[in-house]
Each structure stands twice: as C-alpha cells, then as structure tokens.
C-alpha cells in the first residue's frame, strides 16, 4: 500500500510494529517505536505518547533522505493481554 501511494508521487511514512516485515516489503520510510501490533500509535488514551509518536513519524518525512530507512523511535508501550 505504501509503495502504491509513493508510486503516484505522494511521500509516505509508516509506523511499524514489525520493522523486519516492512523492510522485506520494501518500505520507503518507516518509524519503529516499541509498540505492539494493536497500538502502533501508542497506548490507548495516552494522548501525550500518541502525539509524540505521530509527530516524530511525520518528522521523518523531512529527515529521511534515502529509500528503505527505518528509524527507531524512543517510545515504548507493551500491551497487557
């Protein structure tokens, strides 16, 4: 999906809980906070964490200069299941 959007000329960034998977799929830009599959943008109702993850991910649009780069983000949330 990310690649299809890039192909029409729109830059993208994906928040990835599984960095090796997005690398294999050929992501152009990815953000990798330490999050589970069910909460890529941060813990439920944690507005501060969600805001920081979204901002840091969007910032990567300006920061990443080479295709395929995955940047770790310093946020951590573990779901209690």
């Amino acid at each position: 999906m990310q690649r299809a959007i890039e192909e029409v000329g729109i830059p993208t960034v994906i928040i990835a809980a599984l960095p090796p998977v997005v690398r294999q799929a050929g992501t152009p830009r990815a953000a990798a906070p330490i999050v589970p599959m069910g909460a890529n943008a941060g813990a439920p109702n944690d507005i501060a964490m969600q805001t920081e993850i979204v901002k840091a991910s969007l910032n990567l649009l300006e920061e990443i200069e080479t295709p395929g780069k995955i940047v770790s983000l310093p946020f951590e949330y573990h779901a209690v299941i």
Partner: protein, 150 residues
C-alpha cells in the same frame, strides 16, 4: 586449491526478494502539508460494511470529520482490545486534527483510507486496492500519507 564452482546450483532455502525501492521526494515543509491516514488495521465507519474476516481486499473511504465514536475496527489478525478502547491507537485521527489545529501540519485530508491487511488476495491489493487508494489521495491533493499497521 581452487574454488569449487557448480553451474546452475540453487539453494533449497527460500530467499525472499525485497522489491526495488520506490521514492516520492518531499518537496515542502510539514507545516504546508495536507496529510492523510491510511491503515491496514481494519478501521472503518460504524455505518460502513464490515470487512470479511476471512480475507478482504476492499477498502473504506473515511471522511475526516468522522468522530472516534463513529469509527470501529473489523480485523481478526491482531489483538483489537487497545484499538477498541481508543481508535487512535491504530488510526490517530484525533491526534492528526490536533496537529493541524496547532499548525504542525497544514491540514488533514478530507478523506482517509481503511483496509484490512495481514493477508488476503495480495495480487488484488497490489494491483487494485493500492492504486485505487493512491488515486483518491492524488485527487484530493494530499502531500503526505501516514500509514499504520506495519
């Protein structure tokens, strides 16, 4: 001692192939960008048809004015408990609206996209669903897309 070379030798180990890079350059600062969300997390409006949990390559157009209460998730491929408590976990639409109001980005796109990733008909996703969503973003003048569920 010379190297041993066997012509036509193939490894029996499956080696996945990473596709060639795609790259759309960023041409303006974030503060001038119209930003859309696209998620494979199975997000859709409550009044839209649910995804087929057995595999579904269709997608849902999600108006930006949708409230959190008007959104829900149909996806059998991950634990939905967090996203059911707060849809922003996978579809940070309220956070994006706040960032637009704060001037961090210029505005939210009028429509976002929800689909159900994690399998299904990959050929359809690649050749139909992906290009359809990309075309919608192009038509609505989107400058950048934030994806989740990677």
């Amino acid at each position: 001692m010379s190297m041993t070379v066997v012509k036509g030798l193939q490894s029996e180990i499956f080696v996945p192939i990473t596709p060639k890079s795609v790259w759309a350059p960023v041409t303006k600062p974030l503060s001038e960008m119209t930003v859309a969300l696209a998620t494979a997390a199975g997000v859709h409006r409550v009044d839209q048809e649910r995804f087929n949990l057995a595999g579904d390559f269709t997608w849902r157009k999600i108006p930006n004015e949708s409230t959190e209460a008007e959104l829900m998730v149909t996806h059998g491929g991950y634990d939905n408990s967090d996203v059911n408590k707060d849809v922003n976990c996978m579809f940070p639409i309220t956070r994006l609206k706040e960032l637009a109001a704060a001037g961090f980005i210029k505005e939210c796109a009028p429509f976002h996209a929800g689909f159900m990733g994690g399998g299904g008909n990959i050929e359809k996703f690649t050749n139909e669903t992906g290009p359809q969503i990309a075309e919608m973003f192009k038509q609505e003048g989107v400058d950048a897309v934030l994806l989740t569920a990677g």
